[in-house]
Amino acid sequence: MERYWKLMFTSCLFVFGIGFFYLHDTFAEKELPEYTWEKQKGNEEVLEDVLVQAYIQDGSYIGETIQIAGEKRKYLSQLSFLERLTGAMDNLKIKQLQQKYRGFMRGKEESTYNFYEDKRMLAYANVSSEWDGSQFKQSNFALEVETVSKRDDETTSFFIKLPNQDQYDYMDVGEVTVLGDKLYVLTQNDMLVDDESQSEMRLYTIDLTNEKLISEQRLFSDKEENVKGDREVTLLHDTDELQASSYIAVMTRNLDEDDQTKQLRLFDIEKQEEWSVDLPKKMLEQEVVAHMGDETFYFIYEQKGKLSVTPYQIAEQQLDDPIEIPISDAIDVNTMKYTKIIHDKLYLLYDMNSYMGREGNAPQIKGNPPLMYVIDLKAKALRYEGELTPKNKAAKNALFMIESMYENEQ
């Protein structure tokens, strides 16, 4: 053996060094921050439907991302290379579709905005364009449409060259809806007019049977003739929902110093009508959660230990009686919150360390635990109230920053 000492020396150096590095896992020794839901009221079963994703910063150079669903925890640092590669923490809805429709989903944009699903079919639309180096902008915009029938797995796919391409420089899909044999694609189109950027929504109506574009409509623009300054247009929809309704809803807010009017505007795709929802100004200032699948808006307002959720039925054009729930005194209208409607229940998660609209308010390490309220919208009652409390030293010393709240599909 001593004849091979150089080979032995180098191999041992390698085996011990690399072995030490990969077997002696300092992450395992380093305590993982642990959190549990502390129930104050209700039943924690409802927490199994929701997935809270947060970023944990413990003052070291490496952050940790955690996903909490009921009793289950997933830590980014604990994922294997293959789990990371296959996106074990990615958008669950898309992952589910990829498993179910592997062929159809291949190469498709991983965004729920581009999909529509009902009992009959799964539909997809995306904007494709090419970079035109001579004009230094995107050109040749086209809609790529693909559907798969759930009955016979038959797929159709076609491209539609879009008209009036000189009117915009960039576009992106906001929503895809199928009503009857028509596919509607709502897009956000950006353009430069007199060196000022401008944005508007366009609705493309596509005949699925004949694979043809029926119409292109301009819907909501951030520049309106009768409005002095710009206005802000926000599309209201159920994020990561694949169904959509026959209504398109936007919240507009004028950005002029004297005129900050907010409006909730609706467009009925079937009737081809656009109108403004008639509501008191006070109501419009409240946070609105759209539940388009149910054609209902929920206005949310927190004040002096009380939360009120007021439903508005689009079809009836009327406000219902508010659901009122007592909440922590520490919550006010400016507390950062995350909302999600899952199975007719409204999930409200309050990040007790950050506030909307206030800057320079550096979050502190020893923060307050986030509070969760789950409200049954049908029974108009509180189903759960509780807080996510740090369970060990690592969690207590770390800053918990909520990133998002999803429906838990697993």
């Binding site: 091979y4 150089k6 180098t10 060094g17 070291s60 293959l82």
Partner: protein, 277 residues
């Protein structure tokens, strides 16, 4: 098999003095580095606190805590790594050409050994590869030791303690040579081994056909690299087809194995049939 080990030991021996020098330089430079970086930090702290009248906390907020990352981003840490990389890259070529150089043409002896000539290829490849891995492993120990040295040098309140794995996750340089998971380590260095095989094959093409071979050799490197990268270009850049990440990984590994095997096979053919002294 025995002659493969003998040849590997022999090839290692031919470069071992230089290799120990590289190891020595790395140790010395990196240890001096951690001392220099912490001294500099403490000097800054002293100046700020005693001359400019800053409070400790204010200094820490302003300057940040010192950690091994200050060291891994310094020239003391990076220069010896760069030196080792360059030296071994050059030696990857020299390990073959040195046998043809000079009037003592050692290649005669090597080619006349009563063993499969491909063993020469494997012995030389193993030598390069194991020297690289040895240096990577050395880096693990040095990061560990540097952590201890840093603790001696700097009062703990100024210091952000980090384990070896944390350094590798936080520092992009360290991450390149020591990826976070063992799977990635195998993939990275597997790719490295493939490129050693490709370059060795190119050298043997040149050695077999000389001037004419030089063009073929460059061509071979280009083709092998293009084949290895083909998936990335076809699916990600040109979008001719698209793959799920796991499919991509599996195909990429298969392509890598094919390229490596072709290089070894071609080298086998050249060494037995085409090589010339």
């Amino acid at each position: 098999m025995k002659s493969y080990f003998r040849l590997t030991e022999f090839e290692l021996g031919r470069f071992f003095k230089f290799y120990l020098v590289l190891i020595g330089l790395t140790i010395v430079s990196q240890i001096i580095g951690v001392i220099a970086v912490s001294k500099e930090y403490m000097q800054e702290a002293n100046e700020a606190i005693y001359q400019d009248g800053l409070s400790k906390q204010a200094f820490m907020d302003q300057r940040g805590l010192i950690s091994l990352l200050d060291w891994t981003n310094s020239i003391w840490f990076l220069a010896p790594i760069a030196l080792c990389v360059v030296t071994l890259l050059i030696y990857m070529f020299f390990i073959w050409y040195r046998d043809w150089l000079g009037k003592n043409t050692f290649i005669y002896r090597l080619l006349m050994l009563p063993t499969q000539r491909i063993h020469l290829f494997f012995a030389k490849a193993t030598t390069i590869f194991i020297m690289v891995l040895g240096l990577v492993a050395l880096q693990v120990f040095l990061i560990y030791i540097a952590g201890i040295v840093l603790e001696w040098m700097v009062p703990n309140e100024f210091m952000q303690t980090m384990g070896v794995s944390e350094v590798s996750v936080a520092s992009q340089y360290v991450n390149t040579i020591l990826p976070a998971t063992f799977t990635e380590f195998v993939l990275y260095y597997g790719t490295g081994f493939m490129f050693v095989c490709i370059f060795f094959t190119a050298i043997l093409i040149e050695r077999s056909y000389r001037w004419k071979g030089l063009l073929f050799a460059i061509g071979y490197v280009a083709v092998a690299t293009a084949v290895f990268m083909s998936l990335i270009f076809l699916s990600m850049e040109w979008g001719l087809f698209s793959l799920y990440p796991l499919e991509w990984l599996i195909l990429q590994i298969i392509i890598g194995i094919i390229v490596t095997a072709s290089s070894i096979f071609l080298s086998y053919y050249l060494l037995t049939k085409k090589i010339t002294v």
